[in-house]
């Protein structure tokens, strides 16, 4: 994987929000054509990092490059698909009306609208008002909008949160298919078990990068048997000054995606 040009390269990135530092001098790279998981508890700075990469976050210091351009560069707006944590679609429009609007902004045709509706398995609900759909269906509409125009990079903020295990598995399968087809994906999650579906992991805590590794590499390095314990071990090793704060257990109940 080291041979490819990174799709994301971040150096010394610092973001302050409301007087507190959310990201501390972050350095990381994301290789091309992989599903990279951005894992960390809520409040670790995942959303801020993703917002920076899609160019909607005011940055205090450092640089972030996406597909060889500064994050937020106008040419990237055709090439990066972004899904916010809560579904960002119009609840008073139908699924198709929503996607047609976003498609016209991207300058892609109705054929692409049907393609993405099929990709997220919403053909049955295409004519329904988004406000009448379930939460999981709504977040799939939001994901479908990001797939329009076949972006080279997908930035997904907790796309599987609140979904039932079957849907989560289906979504991770879709991510793998997109990856196999050449798309690069950066997917955030606070569910540590989803690490098994990622090619690489970025572990984030309190705005600092704990690890940037593959799952086997991470387990070997920490001697832990799963990501959650690896995470704990890394926190102990780093002996972060505010390490006294209790870590919340991010593990989800129920069946797992793999």
């Amino acid at each position: 994987m080291g041979n490819n040009e990174p799709v994301i390269s971040v150096q010394g990135l610092r973001v302050d929000r409301g007087g507190t530092t959310v990201l501390h001098a972050l350095d990381l790279t994301v290789p091309e054509r992989q599903v990279v998981g951005l894992l960390g508890p809520s409040g670790s700075g995942k959303t801020t990092l993703l917002r920076t990469l899609v160019g909607v976050q005011v940055v205090t210091a450092g640089t972030a490059h996406v597909l060889g351009r500064p994050a937020g560069d106008p040419t990237l707006r055709h090439q990066v698909g972004y899904v916010t944590q809560s579904p960002s679609v119009y609840s008073d429009l139908s699924v198709t009306e929503n996607l047609r609007y976003f498609a016209s902004i991207l300058g892609v045709g109705p054929r692409d609208v049907s393609r993405v509706i099929d990709a997220v398995d919403l053909a049955r609900h295409a004519r329904r008002r988004v406000g009448t759909l379930s939460g999981g269906e709504r977040s799939r509409v939001s994901l479908a909008a990001a797939l329009l125009g076949e972006p080279r990079l997908l930035v997904l903020d907790e796309p599987t949160v609140g979904l039932d295990p079957v849907l989560r598995r289906d979504l991770w399968d879709l991510f793998a298919r997109l990856r196999d087809a050449g798309t690069s994906l950066l997917v955030s999650s606070h569910v540590m078990d989803e690490a098994t579906r990622c090619d690489r992991l970025l572990l984030l805590r309190d705005g600092r990068l704990l690890a940037d590794d593959t799952l086997p590499g991470l387990l070997e390095r920490t001697g832990a048997h799963d990501v959650e314990h690896a995470f704990l071990r890394l926190v102990e090793d780093a002996s972060v000054p505010d390490g006294a704060a209790p870590l919340r257990s991010p593990r989800h109940l129920g069946g797992e995606a793999s």
Binding site: G55, V58, G72, G109
Partner: protein, 275 residues
Amino acid sequence: MSTHDARSAAAVATGAPQGEGARTPVQRAPSAVSPRATLATAGRVLRQIRHDPRTIALLVVLPCVLLGLIAWMFDGTPVLDQFGPILVGLFPMIIMFLVTSVTTLRERQSGTLERLMTMPIGKGDFVGGYALAFALLATVQALVVVAFAVWVCGMDVSGPVWVVVLVAVLDAILGSCLGLAASALARSEFQAVQLMPVILFPQLITCGLLMPRDEMPAVLEAISRVLPLTYGVSALQDVAAGGTFADVSGAVAVIVAFIVGAIVLGTLTLRRRTV
């Protein structure tokens, strides 16, 4: 490994015909304003309103009801002929201001504004699309309200009625553009709501409706000169008193300038990046 290969492969994986389902978007230079994005946004806003009968009722029925109540209240007096034309401009402006502020506010809250700001749409397209959609609604609204006032309530305008319609349409568009500007200035939903009375009430007090402007203290009169509603009310007062288009053309020009200014302000203050 070229990006073209990668994308063709992506098309295969998700079932799109190669080179057809989506245009290759990579090298297209983004422009500040594109008619396509502006029209698409206007169409989308109108589609949203079409799905919302209550907003349509608020836009069209409410001003007629209010006007009808006033006509009934002052039945047999010349009050409707004197103040009716002013209210025909005033009600739509206030209602359009509120509806536009709230609609753009929802765009922020739902995260769709953030999504759009990562997409190839100019800030001018976004504001322009809203302005266009609401200008269309404002026109329909003003036509219905003036028709109701004249034909149902029996409002008798001394000047030409089409000038009343023109000023009413412009007032409604102005209200909507002020709503856009206020919403863009606000850093949060709550701020946007707070800005509504701050922007509306000073205009209502000084526009010459409560007291003729030439009888006001000099300071208030000076303030009224820089507030847009003053010009709408004064134009309608002139037409109600028998003035023609030539008499109000100066005021109309000022209203148009305020509309353009509000759209520019709304575009400039909208932020792609937020903290």
